[in-house]
């Protein structure tokens, strides 16, 4: 693909993105132009000058007149209209100057407007002069003198062009043309004549690859002439051939104006033009793009006067380009060599403006994690303590002088806080900091407080750490150390007098029931009733766990065996423990069926099936590494029982309360004798 970035793929979306309403009214009036002019030729008088055959625009002049391959701008409208098909943005060029010893007032203006239907353009060139004196022969001296009876004669010479250019379906060839209307007049000295005519330029541009452009423009192919009443002047014309080549490789495509140095060569083949002779003419030019705002040019120009070097410079600012050319006309040293032109070449200016929306402290404690449990009293905290700034970034895309659009983004940046304190003690550190702290036993809360100016907005971050003195047989890397530490801290479980926990030891039914009931709010009346009379035959009235067993039975946490016994000393099986804790937790999803792929050793008819399912779905069994084997009849060890209990909703709530407030609401109504 040689030319993917055509006006359809770039300009139109660009226009849409910028909110343009691209419309083309040309289609309405263009056909009408064909009816504006009626031309009839009579006797051929001579060759008339065609102002559009060459232009006095400074970029073209600076490059020695070579422009056929580089005609994507307003100057190109006159030289090779087909190249305008590559124009992405509107193009305009204007020149107003005096040429040829300041005897001709020269005006040139052009505009080309890309649309989704092609590029439409319009151009004008006017070359006017006056001061041609009517003369007489003095009767006495026979010399020529000004005839005072007549005003001096003047000549106007105008051509109006309507341009269209578009690319062919294969994309790498574009075609274009100029429909030209001529109007010339000579007036003064009691004489008046007007000549009018129409002609047509047809051109094509090819992009055989990304570094080479070839172009051809057949000027005045209609061969039509200028009708001055009784006589007709021919206009002649050039066949202009041109090539432009990026000297530094194919990476930078010409039509995107991404070149560094471009060489251009034009060959003009005259057809009966007004000139001293009709020989072939060459134009050679170089353009060096120094940076995005400056171009240097040089050229070798050959015209009817001879050959000469040309120089030029282009200065681009925003979408506008100012061009200067130095061209000394051969054989006429008194002629001014300075030429200027101004062009609108179109370019999207992107303006970015950032304004601070709000600024607030943003303190993130990197380590330790909140609810960290440690056995070490010395703790190092790492925190990012910064001020977070929300910045409104307004991006404006502007096609200068034509349209602009804006979008606003939120952008986040950080800077140091203006004030920072750790546990209310000011500290000088900012950014990512490390702070050492001495922990107190049990729950510690550590707070960073910062302020962001100028609004003095306060920000805080806190981390809660539990300093836990582990049992002698539960090191900090014990798999259930977190449930053990927290359940021990909030008083749900206790160790043995020797500071051991015996995590692998089985848990008796009485111990489990006791553990659960101690977490519950039980009224004194219930306690009173439960302390004396046993509900089970094998639980004596002096059994240490009698009230807990009775209350648990009363609350349907335990049911006992069908023979009326409770078997308090019996080690709880895994199924029993899950069933008891599930009932204790009052889970709502009892009765659901366990998926077949999980716990294959649990039969759906197993009595504890529904409890296991509920516990599984409540996440209480997520410690089982191989979920296919539940092993329901195996004794449950103390650490696993603690884990399952820790994961039960009531205990989870207690743990959260502890982390949040440092206290728990449990056993509030437990009589003193049981505490």
């Amino acid at each position: 693909m040689r030319k993917t970035n055509n006006k359809v793929s770039l300009w139109k979306p660009e226009a849409k993105r910028l909110g343009f309403q691209v419309t083309a009214t040309f289609s309405r009036w263009l056909p009408a132009l064909f009816f504006l002019f009626v031309f009839t030729g009579t006797a051929l008088a001579g060759i008339s000058v065609d102002p559009s055959r060459s232009i006095f625009a400074a970029r073209t002049l600076g490059m020695g007149g070579a422009h056929v391959g580089l005609s994507q701008d307003g100057e190109g409208l006159f030289i090779n209209p087909s190249a305008l098909a590559a124009a992405i943005y509107p193009q305009m060029t204007g020149v107003s100057t005096n040429i040829l010893l300041s005897e001709t007032a020269y005006t040139m203006a052009s505009i080309a407007w890309p649309t989704q239907w092609g590029v439409f353009g319009c151009g004008y060139i006017g070359a006017n002069t006056g001061g041609s004196y009517a003369t007489i022969r003095d009767p006495a001296s026979n010399r020529v003198s000004i005839n005072p009876s007549y005003e001096a004669m003047s000549s106007t010479n105008n051509v109006l062009l309507f341009t269209y250019a578009n690319e062919l379906p294969m994309k790498w060839i574009s075609v274009g043309g100029n429909l030209k209307f001529y109007n010339q007049a000579l007036s003064g000295a009691n004489e008046f004549g007007r000549g009018t005519g129409m002609n047509l330029d047809l051109s094509a541009t090819a992009y055989p690859n990304e570094w080479l452009t070839l172009g051809v423009n057949l000027q005045n192919i209609l061969g039509a002439s200028l009708a001055w009443g009784g006589v007709t002047d021919d206009l002649g014309g050039f066949t202009k051939l041109g090539a432009a080549m990026n000297l530094f490789g194919e990476k930078k495509s010409l039509f995107k104006n991404q070149y560094d140095i471009v060489a251009a060569l034009d060959i003009d083949l005259p057809r009966n033009v007004l000139a001293e002779n009709n020989s072939m003419l060459y134009h050679l030019g170089l353009e060096y793009t120094m940076n995005e705002w400056m171009q240097l040019r040089a050229g070798l120009n050959q015209d009817s006067n001879g050959s000469g070097m040309t120089f030029g410079v282009g200065l681009k600012q925003s979408a506008f380009r100012f061009d200067y050319a130095y061209v000394q006309k051969p054989g006429l040293g008194a002629d001014s060599p300075h030429y200027f032109s101004m062009s609108y070449v179109g370019d999207i200016d992107i303006h970015v403006r950032e304004t601070l929306n709000r600024k607030a402290p943003d303190i993130q404690i990197v380590s330790p994690m909140d609810r960290y449990i440690t056995s070490e009293a010395d703790l190092t905290l790492v925190a990012d303590c910064r001020a977070k700034m929300i910045i409104d970034k307004k991006v404006t895309w502007e096609l200068p002088g034509i349209r602009s659009t804006s979008e606003v983004y939120e952008k986040v940046e950080y800077e140091y806080l203006d004030y920072l304190a750790f546990n209310n003690y000011p500290i000088e550190k900012r950014g990512t900091i490390e702070v050492s702290a001495k922990l107190l036993p049990l729950r510690n809360v550590m707070t960073f407080t910062g302020y962001a100016m100028p609004e003095r907005i306060q920000g805080t971050a806190e981390v809660r750490v539990l300093l836990f003195d582990p049992f002698i047989d539960t090191p900090m890397d014990q798999w259930a150390i977190r449930p053990i530490a927290l359940c021990s801290t909030i008083g749900l479980i206790t160790g043995y007098p020797d500071r051991s926990f015996k995590p692998a030891r089985g848990l008796s039914r009485a111990e489990l029931v006791t553990l659960l009931v101690r977490t519950m709010a039980v009224s004194p009346e219930v306690w009173s009733e439960a302390r004396f009379e046993s509900r089970f035959s094998d639980v004596k009235s002096n059994h240490w766990a009698l009230p807990y067993i009775n209350i648990a039975s009363q609350l349907s946490i335990v049911k006992g065996y069908p023979n009326g016994t409770f078997r308090p000393s019996k080690v709880v099986s895994r199924a029993e423990a899950v069933a008891i804790i599930t009932r204790y937790s009052e889970l709502k999803n009892l009765g659901e069926v366990l998926p077949e792929s999980i716990f294959t050793d649990i039969d759906p008819n197993f009595w504890a099936h529904e409890y296991i399912v509920a516990a599984y779905k409540a996440g209480m069994l997520d410690h089982i590494t191989d979920p296919r084997f539940f092993d329901p009849h195996a004794p449950i060890p103390r650490d696993e029982a603690t884990y399952i209990l820790y994961k039960s909703p009531p205990v989870t709530q207690m743990v959260n309360d502890y982390w949040d407030h440092g206290t728990i609401k449990t056993g509030g109504d437990m009589p003193e004798w049981l505490r």
Partner: protein, 325 residues
């Protein structure tokens, strides 16, 4: 001095006759030495046809339009006459009268020419420097060849001389064709400065005349330049039927280059004139342009700009209007 062969005032001399087929025409000069002070001279002649009758005689002067002469036509031999409707310019250059006759068969003679000097009662004098007419203020060369021409109704001249400032130089007549016409030359060697040039002639009746040009400049030491603006005549002109003369006054003799451009600066035509040659002499010069480019193409309607250069220096410029209708 000049020989005097003026004879009878009423002598009729057959000067010339033109015969074509059976039609002939002749003019009879009633002016001695072809010189007359009458600004509207009457000319007479005969036209005859051997096999038919003369139906008309036409005449014109100085290439103007043909007009009908008066006479009684319809016979084999007709005497006719004519005179200009307006007075002709008195000059040392003769006016050329032409006449032609047509018979009833439609046969017309070739034009018969007759030159007539129309002068004052005093001698008429003109002078040139290097073949360029000199008027007051003109530049001239340092070694100009002055040529003085005098025409008198009453020859011979008793005095015929050229004065440069107060220096008098008698002139020798070199014209042998007409006793009333005197031509004398003098080559001067002049230093830079301003001169008063006078040509003086006194006729046989003692009536003198002077032709004078003051402030005639010799300026070899200054750069070549053009006095006033160049002009062309006619302007506008039709290159299909006319040429135009570009006139300019050079401060001194120099190589001159004439270049023509169209309004867009396209170079069309160039002509070079070597110093001292026509078009490059000190003083008044005229060169012609036929409205064609260097390749012979006729230019179209419009205004064209010409420049006069000397060794690359721009001396002057002007604008030629071309209008073919």
């Amino acid at each position: 001095m000049k020989k005097n062969f003026l004879t009878a005032s009423v002598l009729v001399i057959l000067l010339a006759g033109i015969c074509r087929a059976d039609v002939s025409i002749a003019l009879y000069n009633i002016f001695t030495n072809d010189v007359t002070p009458e600004a509207q001279p009457r000319l007479t002649g005969f036209a005859s046809s051997t096999t038919s009758t003369i139906s008309s005689v036409e005449w014109r002067v100085d290439g103007g339009s043909w007009q009908a002469a008066t006479g009684t036509f319809g016979t084999a031999t007709v005497e006719f006459s004519f005179r200009p409707g307006t007075g002709l310019v008195r000059s040392t250059t003769p006016h050329v009268f032409q006449a032609r006759a047509t018979n009833a068969a439609g046969e017309t003679t070739d034009p018969l020419n007759k030159s007539v000097y129309i002068v004052d009662t005093r001698p008429m004098i003109t002078f040139t420097a290097d073949n360029v007419a000199v008027v007051s203020g003109d530049p001239i060369d340092t070694t100009p060849q002055f040529e003085v021409k005098a025409v008198t109704e009453h020859p011979p001249l008793t005095e015929f001389k050229l004065m440069i400032n107060n220096d008098s130089h008698d002139l020798t007549d070199t014209d042998t064709t007409n006793p009333a016409v005197y031509v004398g030359t003098y080559t001067a060697s002049l230093a830079d400065g301003s001169y008063r040039i006078r040509a003086i002639a006194v006729d046989s009746l003692g009536r003198g005349a002077t032709q004078e040009a003051t402030h005639v400049l010799v300026q070899s030491g200054i750069a070549i330049d053009i006095e006033s603006i160049p002009l062309n005549y006619p302007n506008p002109f039709d290159p299909r039927t006319q040429t135009t003369s570009i006139a300019y006054v050079l401060s001194k003799s120099a190589n001159i280059e004439l270049r023509l451009y169209d309004l867009m600066g396209n170079f069309l035509y160039k002509a070079n004139f070597a110093a001292d040659a026509a078009g490059a002499k000190a003083g008044y010069n005229e060169v012609t342009w036929d409205g064609k480019t260097g390749s012979g193409t006729t230019v179209g309607n419009g205004i064209y700009i010409y420049v006069l250069l000397s060794d690359g220096k721009l001396l002057g410029k002007g604008k030629i209007s071309v209008l073919a209708k």
